[in-house]
């Protein structure tokens, strides 16, 4: 795996694993994203899962909702570390863009991912 920020996707149930799988299938970029589920987790367990997934350097954490246990666990990582950023409302377009722009610092990568994810939400 090349250098650059890692991505951690934290979501309810099987959602994170499904998103990561589909990003890998579409982009061919493997080993960049790590999926974390809140299944069967109390606060301590989800905090531990996210901390473990985000431990290897600069990381952007993608969360499904801007509230709840997944979001809180992600935000707790930012309390002690300035190389972690959080983006909420995770979707495929933002992840697909992220895996091709990992050289950006986490703050810039997170801002770009949020823009790309928002751009993809349209009334068609």
């Amino acid at each position: 795996m090349s250098d650059g920020a890692r991505g951690v996707v934290v979501a309810h149930g099987a959602l994170a694993a499904a998103l990561v799988l589909e990003v890998e299938r579409i982009s061919g970029q493997t080993g960049v994203l790590t999926a974390v589920s809140n299944n069967d987790c109390g606060r301590e367990q989800i905090d531990q899962r996210v901390a473990e997934a985000a431990k290897d350097g600069p990381t952007v954490i993608f969360v499904d909702m801007p509230c709840g246990s997944c979001f809180f666990a992600a935000m707790r990582q930012t309390r002690e570390r300035n190389d972690v950023r959080v983006v909420t409302g995770v979707n495929l377009p933002m992840l697909l863009d992220f895996v091709h722009h990992r050289s950006l610092p986490p703050a810039d990568g997170a801002a770009r991912a949020a823009d790309k994810g928002s751009d993809a939400i349209r009334q068609a």
Binding site: G42, R43, M65, F72
Partner: protein, 157 residues
């Protein structure tokens, strides 16, 4: 308005609480009773992000909650009291009775606990503490969502 739910859930504020229980009970405020959260500006600010702006979120230590409970019970809005663990809820029930019903909403695995339901793990000691609470007149049931059937404490044995 009454306190519509006294809930033990180690996740405290999360989707099941805010959306599942909160919306269906037209909850106007949550009272989060936790000594550690009450003492941390950072954690309080974090939990505030998890509640819709039209819903108020109070933070209190056990001692503060005991003093505030009457005011919460007299509040014109429906309210929910949340604790992360059984010991805090029992302390609250003793300090500010009556707590007529306690909902076990999420108590997850830790060493020494065994699974009683997919979302409830208890040590034997915790089970007996709940039994004692029930013996003093509090109805104790497990129920993750309003749409799920409540499970009586006896079935968690």
């Amino acid at each position: 308005m009454p306190i519509v739910l006294y809930r033990v859930d180690d996740r405290l504020v999360h989707g099941q609480v805010v959306i599942g229980w909160g919306r269906s009970n037209d909850v106007g405020f949550f009272a989060l009773v936790d000594d550690a959260v009450a003492a941390s500006d950072w954690e309080r600010e974090l939990y505030r992000m998890g509640v819709p702006p039209e819903v108020e979120l109070f933070f209190a230590s056990i001692a503060d909650a005991a003093r505030q409970m009457d005011a919460w019970r007299r509040d014109a809005r429906n309210g929910m009291v949340l604790t992360a663990d059984i010991s805090t809820m029992v302390a609250l029930a003793e300090a500010a009775p009556p707590v007529d019903r306690v909902n076990l909403g999420g108590i997850h695995h830790k060493p020494g606990r065994t699974q009683r339901l997919p979302y409830i793990y208890l040590t034997e000691e915790e089970y007996h503490i709940l039994e004692s609470l029930a013996a003093r007149g509090t109805q104790v049931t497990a129920q993750d969502l309003p749409t799920s059937p409540p499970v009586p404490l006896e079935q968690l044995r």
